[in-house]
Symmetry: C2
Subunit: 320 residues, 2 copies
């Protein structure tokens, strides 16, 4: 899949965009916004010295600073691109420097908890328009970002009741400029949907990789060598940023535990089928699940190439 | 990852190789053996009319037949490349036609059950040398196969006590000719190792895809749209061949249930961490699991590209 950004906009959507957090997501937003001319001026802030140095070297912003309050001064849009659990501290730090009417958005994988937090710590004169770009890789940091990360991915907006329409429309236009499709839903529904499409998958991936690492009968070397049997697919998402994912689970506890409950019920049923030798039951499930992947490929959310297109040589080599 | 077969062998390992089953694995063995000149003559058998027609059209063998007994007549090596549960019927069908001293191997993802079955139905004059190439894709059938499927993958041999050394050595040479690394272990240990590196991962992937498909609160369209959050990775292996996987679970029941028990214990602990808000516990696990992926990449069993290299554009595009 080759994903390309469109040509630069004639008129930027924002005059000054402040991005707090210059990791994979924040740095990708900066790159994409620059490429698409979606903001006249881009200011990046990060509290990590190492990240700042890289962001400066990569020329990711017109200004790169460790001072989040300074970064948001004069901005008409602020995007918080920090782990979900850091929003409260960042919100408090920038609150005094936020101008009247400034749009504040975020990129958190959890929405209800983040909205409650931001509503509590930000001044009433800001216009909150939360967002979640459903995109990423297992890598972290400013060097891992790239401009086309959001192209053809979905971005979910979860405006609170009474949110400012213009602010939501501008954030929607911004994400569309970055190549995303935008969908709007309630924060509560978002948290339930993402629990099954993202949070529980990460949890069980982390879990099985942990289980395999702890076995005494099977060595780590064996797990690694024979991982092509399926296990290695799980290790990708189990290599995702630990801070980000710790915060996701702590802040979307209810929806994750609910979906995990369903997963466990179904797994118990599957376990019973194996114990009882119910081949027909297994076959029926395994046939049904094929259809979901076909849907994902058809919707352009996945490559149709076998094995994720991992091996360049799955196409038949020419005869020697 | 580009994987290449070596140049054709000067001397073929087998004179006549019979492959029973022309699916993804059987057809890939035929292609690779032909390319490497690992057998002078290749005969393919399959009981499915559609598969036979494709195998003939693709010129996968010197002879392509629906008669497994005919296929093994005159062969010095027979490889059974059928779902694990089909080995008994195929073994009975070919038994009368197997010459003295013929090597019989297989490719099953389960070894103890297959060995017991084949020892029971095959004549005493055959030399059994079971194998399991740990390679494949989520696709099935002769069109999905390719010659380099086994290159740089591991193939596990599980000779029974008292197995013929020469037969094991020849099967080892054969898989090495197809580009694989070979490891030898007991069938019981194989079944335990593969339960954690392959069978349980498939089971939980099938399970979560089933759970997601059955939700009432989240639509199938939402699951598909927002699958880039992690879920879509699981759909790949949950799109694998249903017959093959039904047979794996029915024939490796004990090891699968044992490893599933470990997985469940660990998942319960993780669930408790989330419920109690134990951020340190979550962070510790999520940090530990990163190391395993690094090991898999370092061992050449996985691409180092982010997101499996799915998106050709993860490298920064040139400035416009």
């Amino acid at each position: 899949m080759i994903e390309r950004l469109g040509a630069p906009l004639a008129d930027p959507i924002f005059n000054q965009l402040a991005i707090i957090g210059a990791g994979l997501i924040g740095s990708s937003i900066a790159r994409a916004a620059r490429r698409r001319n979606a903001a006249r001026r881009i200011v990046l802030a990060d509290h990590s010295f190492g990240v700042l140095e890289r962001a400066k070297a990569l020329k990711l912003g017109d200004l790169v600073t460790d001072d989040a309050a300074r970064a948001v001064r004069g901005a008409d849009c602020v995007i918080l691109a920090v782990p979900v659990g850091a929003n409260e501290a960042v919100g408090r730090a920038i609150a005094p420097a936020l101008g009247a009417g400034v749009i504040v958005s975020d990129v958190g994988s959890v929405k209800s908890a983040v909205i409650s937090t931001l509503e509590a710590v930000l001044p009433g004169h800001v216009r909150l328009a939360p967002a979640h770009p459903v995109a990423g890789t297992e890598q972290s940091g400013p060097d891992a970002g790239f401009a086309s990360l959001f192209v053809n991915r979905w971005c979910i907006l979860t405006p609170a009741r009474g949110a400012d329409d213009e602010a939501v429309t501008m954030v929607k236009s911004f994400w569309e400029a970055l190549g995303s499709h935008v969908e709007i839903m309630s924060a509560a529904h978002h948290d339930l949907v993402l629990a099954i499409t993202s949070h529980v998958p990460h949890l069980i991936a982390y879990n099985i990789v942990g289980t395999a690492a702890d076995l005494e009968e099977v060595t780590r070397s064996e797990v690694i060598k024979f991982s092509a049997g399926g296990f290695r697919d799980f290790t990708r998402i189990a290599a995702s940023d630990p801070t980000m994912w710790r915060d996701v689970f702590l802040h979307n506890k209810d929806a994750v535990l609910e979906m995990l409950g369903r997963f466990n019920e179904d797994l118990t049923a599957l376990q019973r089928m194996i114990r009882r030798g119910d081949g027909d039951g297994l076959f029926a499930l395994f046939t049904r699940t094929r259809a979901i992947r076909l849907g994902i490929v058809a919707e352009g959310q996945e490559t149709a190439a076998p094995d994720f297109g991992r091996r360049a040589s799955t196409a038949e080599e020419p005869e020697p």
